[in-house]
Protein backbone atom coordinates (compact mmCIF):
# COMPACT_ATOMS: atom_id res chain seq x y z
CA UNK A 1 0.00 0.00 0.00
CA UNK A 2 1.32 3.42 -0.95
CA UNK A 3 2.58 5.51 1.99
CA UNK A 4 2.72 2.36 4.12
CA UNK A 5 4.99 -0.30 2.61
CA UNK A 6 7.89 2.02 1.87
CA UNK A 7 8.12 2.82 5.59
CA UNK A 8 8.65 -0.83 6.46
CA UNK A 9 11.79 -1.25 4.39
CA UNK A 10 14.27 -3.41 6.31
CA UNK A 11 17.36 -1.95 4.62
CA UNK A 12 16.41 1.64 5.40
CA UNK A 13 15.72 0.50 8.98
CA UNK A 14 19.24 -0.94 9.21
CA UNK A 15 20.70 2.35 8.08
CA UNK A 16 18.64 4.28 10.61
CA UNK A 17 19.60 1.88 13.44
CA UNK A 18 23.23 2.33 12.44
CA UNK A 19 22.84 6.11 12.48
CA UNK A 20 21.23 5.98 15.95
CA UNK A 21 24.12 3.81 17.26
CA UNK A 22 26.64 6.21 15.80
CA UNK A 23 25.28 9.28 17.62
CA UNK A 24 24.33 7.68 20.95
CA UNK A 25 26.78 8.43 23.79
CA UNK A 26 24.59 8.46 26.91
CA UNK A 27 21.68 6.46 28.30
CA UNK A 28 18.31 7.98 27.39
CA UNK A 29 14.68 7.08 28.07
CA UNK A 30 12.29 8.08 25.32
CA UNK A 31 8.52 7.78 25.72
CA UNK A 32 6.26 7.11 22.75
CA UNK A 33 2.96 8.63 23.72
CA UNK A 34 0.56 6.73 21.50
CA UNK A 35 -0.57 3.13 21.89
CA UNK A 36 -0.59 2.71 18.11
CA UNK A 37 3.13 3.46 18.19
CA UNK A 38 3.64 1.03 21.08
CA UNK A 39 1.94 -1.61 18.96
CA UNK A 40 4.29 -1.01 16.01
CA UNK A 41 7.36 -0.95 18.26
CA UNK A 42 6.59 -4.25 19.95
CA UNK A 43 5.21 -5.96 16.84
CA UNK A 44 8.17 -5.14 14.62
CA UNK A 45 10.78 -5.71 17.34
CA UNK A 46 12.16 -2.18 17.07
CA UNK A 47 13.70 -2.29 20.54
CA UNK A 48 16.17 -4.92 19.28
CA UNK A 49 17.36 -2.47 16.65
CA UNK A 50 18.33 0.18 19.20
CA UNK A 51 21.59 0.48 21.12
CA UNK A 52 21.42 -0.69 24.77
CA UNK A 53 21.65 2.92 25.99
CA UNK A 54 18.18 3.70 24.61
CA UNK A 55 15.10 2.65 26.57
CA UNK A 56 11.66 3.11 25.07
CA UNK A 57 8.97 3.80 27.65
CA UNK A 58 5.43 3.08 26.60
CA UNK A 59 3.17 5.98 27.48
CA UNK A 60 -0.48 6.33 28.41
CA UNK A 61 -1.53 6.75 24.81
CA UNK A 62 -4.42 4.36 24.54
CA UNK A 63 -7.79 6.03 25.12
CA UNK A 64 -9.31 2.60 25.75
CA UNK A 65 -6.80 1.95 28.53
CA UNK A 66 -7.39 5.23 30.35
CA UNK A 67 -11.20 5.24 30.32
CA UNK A 68 -12.13 5.09 34.03
CA UNK A 69 -13.93 2.07 35.41
CA UNK A 70 -16.79 4.30 36.62
CA UNK A 71 -17.51 5.23 33.02
CA UNK A 72 -17.47 1.59 31.89
CA UNK A 73 -19.99 0.86 34.66
CA UNK A 74 -22.10 3.79 33.45
CA UNK A 75 -21.88 2.53 29.86
CA UNK A 76 -23.10 -0.89 30.98
CA UNK A 77 -25.99 0.63 32.98
CA UNK A 78 -27.07 2.66 29.92
CA UNK A 79 -26.63 -0.31 27.56
CA UNK A 80 -28.82 -2.51 29.77
CA UNK A 81 -31.85 -0.20 29.28
CA UNK A 82 -34.30 -1.91 26.93
CA UNK A 83 -34.86 1.16 24.70
CA UNK A 84 -31.12 1.70 24.11
CA UNK A 85 -28.94 0.60 21.20
CA UNK A 86 -25.44 1.04 22.63
CA UNK A 87 -22.74 1.60 20.00
CA UNK A 88 -19.00 1.56 20.47
CA UNK A 89 -15.67 0.97 18.77
CA UNK A 90 -14.82 -2.72 19.19
CA UNK A 91 -11.89 -2.22 21.58
CA UNK A 92 -14.14 -1.00 24.39
CA UNK A 93 -16.22 -4.15 24.73
CA UNK A 94 -13.77 -6.16 26.84
CA UNK A 95 -12.56 -3.37 29.11
CA UNK A 96 -13.40 -4.54 32.63
CA UNK A 97 -15.90 -2.55 34.67
CA UNK A 98 -16.25 -3.17 38.41
CA UNK A 99 -18.25 -6.37 37.93
CA UNK A 100 -18.56 -7.02 34.18
CA UNK A 101 -17.72 -5.64 30.74
CA UNK A 102 -19.88 -4.54 27.80
CA UNK A 103 -19.47 -7.91 26.11
CA UNK A 104 -21.02 -9.74 29.05
CA UNK A 105 -23.77 -7.10 29.22
CA UNK A 106 -24.47 -8.05 25.59
CA UNK A 107 -24.64 -11.70 26.59
CA UNK A 108 -27.20 -10.67 29.22
CA UNK A 109 -29.39 -9.17 26.52
CA UNK A 110 -28.14 -5.60 26.09
CA UNK A 111 -28.24 -4.37 22.47
CA UNK A 112 -24.55 -3.56 22.07
CA UNK A 113 -23.13 -2.97 18.58
CA UNK A 114 -19.64 -2.46 17.28
CA UNK A 115 -19.33 0.34 14.72
CA UNK A 116 -16.53 1.64 12.52
CA UNK A 117 -17.61 5.29 12.56
CA UNK A 118 -19.86 7.53 14.72
CA UNK A 119 -21.67 8.39 11.49
CA UNK A 120 -22.91 4.78 11.41
CA UNK A 121 -24.57 5.46 14.78
CA UNK A 122 -26.42 8.38 13.20
CA UNK A 123 -27.69 6.06 10.48
CA UNK A 124 -28.92 3.62 13.14
CA UNK A 125 -30.74 6.47 14.93
CA UNK A 126 -32.48 7.55 11.73
CA UNK A 127 -33.53 3.98 10.99
CA UNK A 128 -34.77 3.22 14.53
CA UNK A 129 -36.78 6.26 15.64
CA UNK A 130 -38.43 4.31 18.47
CA UNK A 131 -35.07 3.40 20.05
CA UNK A 132 -32.40 5.50 21.77
CA UNK A 133 -29.00 5.24 20.07
CA UNK A 134 -26.03 5.99 22.34
CA UNK A 135 -22.48 6.21 21.01
CA UNK A 136 -19.52 5.67 23.36
CA UNK A 137 -17.33 8.60 22.33
CA UNK A 138 -13.88 7.43 23.34
CA UNK A 139 -10.68 8.81 21.94
CA UNK A 140 -7.95 11.39 21.74
CA UNK A 141 -7.95 14.57 19.66
CA UNK A 142 -7.69 12.34 16.57
CA UNK A 143 -11.23 11.03 17.03
CA UNK A 144 -12.81 14.17 18.50
CA UNK A 145 -13.70 15.85 15.17
CA UNK A 146 -15.56 12.72 14.03
CA UNK A 147 -17.54 12.41 17.27
CA UNK A 148 -18.18 16.16 17.29
CA UNK A 149 -19.52 15.95 13.74
CA UNK A 150 -21.98 13.20 14.68
CA UNK A 151 -23.52 15.46 17.36
CA UNK A 152 -23.30 18.54 15.18
CA UNK A 153 -25.19 16.76 12.43
CA UNK A 154 -27.76 15.22 14.80
CA UNK A 155 -28.52 18.71 16.11
CA UNK A 156 -29.00 20.07 12.60
CA UNK A 157 -31.26 17.19 11.62
CA UNK A 158 -33.26 17.45 14.85
CA UNK A 159 -32.42 13.82 15.63
CA UNK A 160 -33.72 13.36 19.17
CA UNK A 161 -32.91 9.71 19.74
CA UNK A 162 -29.12 10.09 19.48
CA UNK A 163 -26.65 10.84 22.26
CA UNK A 164 -22.96 10.51 23.18
CA UNK A 165 -21.40 9.02 26.29
CA UNK A 166 -18.29 11.18 26.25
CA UNK A 167 -14.92 9.83 27.41
CA UNK A 168 -12.60 12.08 25.40
CA UNK A 169 -9.09 12.71 26.65
CA UNK A 170 -6.45 15.24 25.60
CA UNK A 171 -2.79 14.37 25.18
CA UNK A 172 -0.69 17.45 26.14
CA UNK A 173 -2.07 17.70 29.72
CA UNK A 174 -1.18 14.02 30.26
CA UNK A 175 2.36 14.66 29.01
CA UNK A 176 2.64 17.57 31.46
CA UNK A 177 1.36 15.30 34.26
CA UNK A 178 4.05 12.72 33.42
CA UNK A 179 6.73 15.42 33.40
CA UNK A 180 5.52 16.72 36.77
CA UNK A 181 5.66 13.28 38.37
CA UNK A 182 8.42 12.87 40.99
CA UNK A 183 9.20 9.45 39.44
CA UNK A 184 9.81 11.01 36.05
CA UNK A 185 12.18 9.00 33.91
CA UNK A 186 11.36 10.46 30.52
CA UNK A 187 14.13 12.37 28.71
CA UNK A 188 12.25 12.93 25.45
CA UNK A 189 8.87 12.29 23.85
CA UNK A 190 7.76 10.92 20.52
CA UNK A 191 4.44 12.76 20.16
CA UNK A 192 1.45 11.03 18.60
CA UNK A 193 1.35 11.88 14.88
CA UNK A 194 -2.37 11.53 14.34
CA UNK A 195 -3.26 13.65 17.35
CA UNK A 196 -0.97 16.29 15.81
CA UNK A 197 -2.59 15.85 12.37
CA UNK A 198 -5.63 17.43 14.03
CA UNK A 199 -4.08 19.74 16.63
CA UNK A 200 -0.72 20.62 15.08
CA UNK A 201 2.19 21.01 17.46
CA UNK A 202 2.02 24.56 18.83
CA UNK A 203 0.69 23.09 22.09
CA UNK A 204 4.03 21.38 22.69
CA UNK A 205 6.13 24.51 22.40
CA UNK A 206 5.39 25.69 25.98
CA UNK A 207 6.08 22.15 27.29
CA UNK A 208 9.49 22.09 25.63
CA UNK A 209 10.32 25.46 27.08
CA UNK A 210 9.07 24.72 30.57
CA UNK A 211 10.55 21.21 30.97
CA UNK A 212 13.52 21.40 28.56
CA UNK A 213 12.41 18.12 27.02
CA UNK A 214 12.72 17.33 23.28
CA UNK A 215 9.40 16.43 21.60
CA UNK A 216 9.42 14.84 18.15
CA UNK A 217 6.07 14.48 16.35
CA UNK A 218 6.29 10.95 14.95
CA UNK A 219 4.39 8.71 12.55
CA UNK A 220 3.27 5.13 12.98
CA UNK A 221 5.32 2.96 10.65
CA UNK A 222 8.56 1.30 11.80
CA UNK A 223 10.80 3.70 9.85
CA UNK A 224 8.90 6.69 11.24
CA UNK A 225 9.58 5.49 14.77
CA UNK A 226 13.27 4.83 14.16
CA UNK A 227 13.56 8.24 12.52
CA UNK A 228 11.76 9.81 15.50
CA UNK A 229 14.19 8.11 17.90
CA UNK A 230 17.11 9.35 15.78
CA UNK A 231 15.84 12.92 15.91
CA UNK A 232 15.19 12.73 19.67
CA UNK A 233 18.62 11.25 20.44
CA UNK A 234 20.31 13.88 18.24
CA UNK A 235 18.60 16.62 20.28
CA UNK A 236 19.49 14.97 23.60
CA UNK A 237 23.13 14.42 22.70
CA UNK A 238 23.47 17.99 21.40
CA UNK A 239 21.76 19.41 24.50
CA UNK A 240 18.86 20.84 22.47
CA UNK A 241 15.18 20.74 23.44
CA UNK A 242 12.86 21.60 20.57
CA UNK A 243 9.66 20.51 18.94
CA UNK A 244 10.54 18.71 15.71
CA UNK A 245 8.23 17.18 13.13
CA UNK A 246 9.21 13.74 11.84
CA UNK A 247 5.72 13.18 10.37
CA UNK A 248 5.80 16.12 7.97
CA UNK A 249 3.99 14.19 5.25
CA UNK A 250 0.81 14.58 7.30
CA UNK A 251 1.36 17.03 10.18
CA UNK A 252 1.61 20.83 9.85
CA UNK A 253 2.39 23.18 12.75
CA UNK A 254 -1.16 24.58 12.89
CA UNK A 255 -2.85 21.23 12.41
CA UNK A 256 -6.22 20.82 10.72
CA UNK A 257 -8.14 24.06 11.30
CA UNK A 258 -11.62 22.98 10.10
CA UNK A 259 -11.38 19.93 12.39
CA UNK A 260 -10.28 22.10 15.34
CA UNK A 261 -13.21 24.46 14.69
CA UNK A 262 -15.64 21.55 14.75
CA UNK A 263 -14.22 20.30 18.07
CA UNK A 264 -14.44 23.77 19.61
CA UNK A 265 -18.01 24.25 18.36
CA UNK A 266 -19.27 21.06 20.04
CA UNK A 267 -16.93 20.36 22.96
CA UNK A 268 -15.30 22.30 25.76
CA UNK A 269 -12.31 21.38 27.88
CA UNK A 270 -12.89 20.02 31.38
CA UNK A 271 -11.23 17.91 34.06
CA UNK A 272 -11.03 14.18 33.38
CA UNK A 273 -10.27 11.08 35.39
CA UNK A 274 -7.62 8.81 33.77
CA UNK A 275 -7.77 5.18 34.71
CA UNK A 276 -4.71 4.24 36.69
CA UNK A 277 -3.41 7.80 36.77
CA UNK A 278 -6.14 9.83 38.48
CA UNK A 279 -7.72 13.18 37.77
CA UNK A 280 -5.83 15.50 35.43
CA UNK A 281 -7.12 19.09 35.17
CA UNK A 282 -8.23 20.30 31.71
CA UNK A 283 -7.46 16.92 30.16
CA UNK A 284 -10.87 15.94 28.79
CA UNK A 285 -13.70 17.13 26.57
CA UNK A 286 -17.37 17.52 27.42
CA UNK A 287 -20.33 18.71 25.38
CA UNK A 288 -20.84 22.46 25.26
CA UNK A 289 -24.10 24.12 26.40
CA UNK A 290 -25.90 24.08 23.05
CA UNK A 291 -25.20 20.35 22.65
CA UNK A 292 -25.70 19.26 26.24
CA UNK A 293 -29.04 17.70 25.33
CA UNK A 294 -27.01 15.06 23.49
CA UNK A 295 -25.12 14.03 26.62
CA UNK A 296 -26.05 10.42 27.49
CA UNK A 297 -24.98 10.99 31.12
CA UNK A 298 -27.72 13.61 31.48
CA UNK A 299 -30.29 11.72 29.41
CA UNK A 300 -29.88 8.48 31.36
CA UNK A 301 -28.89 9.34 34.92
CA UNK A 302 -27.49 6.31 36.70
CA UNK A 303 -26.43 5.93 40.29
CA UNK A 304 -23.36 3.71 40.29
CA UNK A 305 -21.29 2.95 43.35
CA UNK A 306 -17.73 4.17 42.98
CA UNK A 307 -15.64 1.52 41.25
CA UNK A 308 -12.34 0.22 42.51
CA UNK A 309 -9.31 -1.05 40.63
CA UNK A 310 -8.60 -4.75 41.08
CA UNK A 311 -5.81 -5.02 43.65
CA UNK A 312 -3.12 -6.64 41.53
CA UNK A 313 -3.16 -4.37 38.54
CA UNK A 314 -0.27 -1.90 38.32
CA UNK A 315 -1.69 -0.35 35.14
CA UNK A 316 -1.26 3.17 36.50
CA UNK A 317 2.48 2.68 36.87
CA UNK A 318 2.72 0.97 33.48
CA UNK A 319 0.79 3.78 31.80
CA UNK A 320 3.18 6.35 33.24
CA UNK A 321 6.21 4.38 32.19
CA UNK A 322 7.35 3.83 35.79
CA UNK A 323 7.01 0.04 35.58
CA UNK A 324 7.02 -2.36 32.62
CA UNK A 325 4.26 -4.90 31.93
CA UNK A 326 6.62 -7.77 32.79
CA UNK A 327 7.09 -6.28 36.27
CA UNK A 328 3.44 -7.03 37.01
CA UNK A 329 2.98 -10.27 38.99
CA UNK A 330 -0.32 -10.95 37.18
CA UNK A 331 1.12 -10.47 33.67
CA UNK A 332 0.56 -13.49 31.45
CA UNK A 333 -0.86 -15.72 34.18
CA UNK A 334 -3.86 -14.24 35.97
CA UNK A 335 -4.06 -11.41 33.44
CA UNK A 336 -4.28 -12.23 29.71
CA UNK A 337 -6.15 -10.67 26.73
CA UNK A 338 -8.89 -13.32 27.16
CA UNK A 339 -9.29 -12.44 30.82
CA UNK A 340 -7.86 -8.97 31.38
CA UNK A 341 -7.54 -7.61 34.92
CA UNK A 342 -6.68 -4.15 33.69
CA UNK A 343 -7.35 -2.10 30.59
CA UNK A 344 -3.80 -2.17 29.10
CA UNK A 345 -4.31 -5.91 28.58
CA UNK A 346 -7.49 -5.35 26.54
CA UNK A 347 -6.63 -3.37 23.46
CA UNK A 348 -3.70 -4.52 21.36
CA UNK A 349 -2.49 -0.93 21.71
CA UNK A 350 -2.23 -1.31 25.45
CA UNK A 351 1.35 -1.95 26.56
CA UNK A 352 0.48 -5.17 28.46
CA UNK A 353 -1.40 -6.76 25.55
CA UNK A 354 1.27 -5.72 23.04
CA UNK A 355 3.93 -7.48 25.11
CA UNK A 356 1.71 -10.48 25.67
CA UNK A 357 0.89 -10.88 21.97
CA UNK A 358 4.37 -10.39 20.59
CA UNK A 359 6.38 -11.58 23.57
CA UNK A 360 9.75 -12.82 22.46
CA UNK A 361 8.67 -13.09 18.82
CA UNK A 362 8.24 -9.93 16.88
CA UNK A 363 6.28 -10.43 13.69
CA UNK A 364 7.92 -9.86 10.39
CA UNK A 365 6.45 -6.55 9.33
CA UNK A 366 9.43 -5.63 7.18
CA UNK A 367 9.55 -5.29 3.42
CA UNK A 368 12.50 -5.52 1.07
CA UNK A 369 14.33 -8.34 2.88
Amino acid sequence: MKFVDEYRDARAADRLSHAIRRITRHPWSIMEVCGGQTHTIVKSGLEDRLPPEITLIHGPGCPVCVTPMELIDKAIAVAMRPEVIFCSFGDMLRVPGSSRNLLSAKALGADVRILYSPLDALKLARRNPERQVVFFAVGFETTAPANATAVWQAEREGLENFSLLVAHVLVPPAMAAILDSPDRRVNAFLAAGHVCAIMGYREYEPLVERYRVPIVVTGFEPLDLLDGVFMAVAQLEEGRAEVENQYSRVVRRDGNLPAQERIAEVFEVGPREWRGIGAIPSSGLKLRGRYRGFDAEERFPTAEPPAEQPGDCIAGLVLQGIRRPRDCPAFGNRCTPENPLGAPMVSSEGACAAYYLYRGRSENTWTGI
Binding site: M1, V4, P63, F89, I198, F220, V250
Partner: protein, 84 residues
Protein backbone atom coordinates in the same frame (compact mmCIF):
# COMPACT_ATOMS: atom_id res chain seq x y z
CA UNK B 1 -7.48 3.56 18.44
CA UNK B 2 -5.82 6.42 16.57
CA UNK B 3 -5.22 4.17 13.59
CA UNK B 4 -5.45 6.07 10.31
CA UNK B 5 -5.02 4.59 6.85
CA UNK B 6 -3.92 6.38 3.67
CA UNK B 7 -6.16 6.05 0.62
CA UNK B 8 -6.65 7.83 -2.72
CA UNK B 9 -9.68 10.00 -3.48
CA UNK B 10 -11.59 8.57 -6.45
CA UNK B 11 -14.62 10.89 -6.46
CA UNK B 12 -16.02 13.82 -4.46
CA UNK B 13 -19.61 14.84 -3.72
CA UNK B 14 -20.66 18.09 -2.03
CA UNK B 15 -23.94 18.42 -0.14
CA UNK B 16 -24.67 22.12 0.27
CA UNK B 17 -27.49 22.02 2.83
CA UNK B 18 -25.50 20.21 5.52
CA UNK B 19 -22.14 21.62 4.39
CA UNK B 20 -20.98 18.04 3.97
CA UNK B 21 -18.21 16.89 1.71
CA UNK B 22 -18.01 13.22 0.95
CA UNK B 23 -15.84 11.10 -1.27
CA UNK B 24 -15.07 7.59 -2.40
CA UNK B 25 -11.61 6.50 -1.31
CA UNK B 26 -9.59 3.63 -2.70
CA UNK B 27 -7.56 1.71 -0.10
CA UNK B 28 -5.33 -0.54 -2.21
CA UNK B 29 -8.36 -1.91 -4.07
CA UNK B 30 -11.06 -1.69 -1.40
CA UNK B 31 -13.40 1.32 -1.74
CA UNK B 32 -15.14 3.15 1.03
CA UNK B 33 -17.20 6.30 1.45
CA UNK B 34 -15.44 8.86 3.65
CA UNK B 35 -16.32 12.30 5.03
CA UNK B 36 -14.04 14.94 3.45
CA UNK B 37 -15.36 17.96 5.37
CA UNK B 38 -12.01 18.46 7.14
CA UNK B 39 -9.94 18.32 3.96
CA UNK B 40 -11.60 21.03 1.81
CA UNK B 41 -8.34 21.43 -0.13
CA UNK B 42 -8.17 17.78 -1.25
CA UNK B 43 -9.04 16.83 -4.83
CA UNK B 44 -9.44 13.62 -6.83
CA UNK B 45 -6.14 11.75 -7.00
CA UNK B 46 -4.86 13.09 -3.66
CA UNK B 47 -4.05 10.71 -0.83
CA UNK B 48 -5.81 11.38 2.46
CA UNK B 49 -5.36 9.79 5.86
CA UNK B 50 -8.64 8.26 7.03
CA UNK B 51 -9.67 7.71 10.65
CA UNK B 52 -13.14 6.35 11.69
CA UNK B 53 -14.69 7.42 8.39
CA UNK B 54 -13.16 10.91 8.26
CA UNK B 55 -10.23 12.22 6.25
CA UNK B 56 -8.05 13.96 8.85
CA UNK B 57 -5.30 15.24 6.54
CA UNK B 58 -3.84 15.21 3.04
CA UNK B 59 -0.60 13.28 2.56
CA UNK B 60 2.12 15.56 1.15
CA UNK B 61 3.91 13.61 -1.60
CA UNK B 62 7.11 15.66 -1.45
CA UNK B 63 7.38 15.45 2.35
CA UNK B 64 6.73 11.71 2.13
CA UNK B 65 10.22 11.35 0.61
CA UNK B 66 11.95 13.38 3.34
CA UNK B 67 13.07 10.37 5.37
CA UNK B 68 14.68 8.74 2.32
CA UNK B 69 16.36 12.00 1.32
CA UNK B 70 17.90 12.40 4.78
CA UNK B 71 19.03 8.77 4.75
CA UNK B 72 20.81 9.41 1.47
CA UNK B 73 22.43 12.55 2.83
CA UNK B 74 23.63 10.62 5.87
CA UNK B 75 25.05 7.94 3.59
CA UNK B 76 26.90 10.50 1.45
CA UNK B 77 28.27 12.27 4.52
CA UNK B 78 29.59 8.98 5.84
CA UNK B 79 31.17 8.03 2.54
CA UNK B 80 32.88 11.42 2.39
CA UNK B 81 34.19 10.91 5.92
CA UNK B 82 35.52 7.52 4.85
CA UNK B 83 37.45 9.19 2.02
CA UNK B 84 39.09 11.78 4.27
Amino acid sequence: MCLAVPGMIVSIEEEQGLALRRGKIDFAGARREVCLSFTPEASVGDYVLVHVGFAIGVVDEAEAQRIFRSLEEMQIAEELKGLE
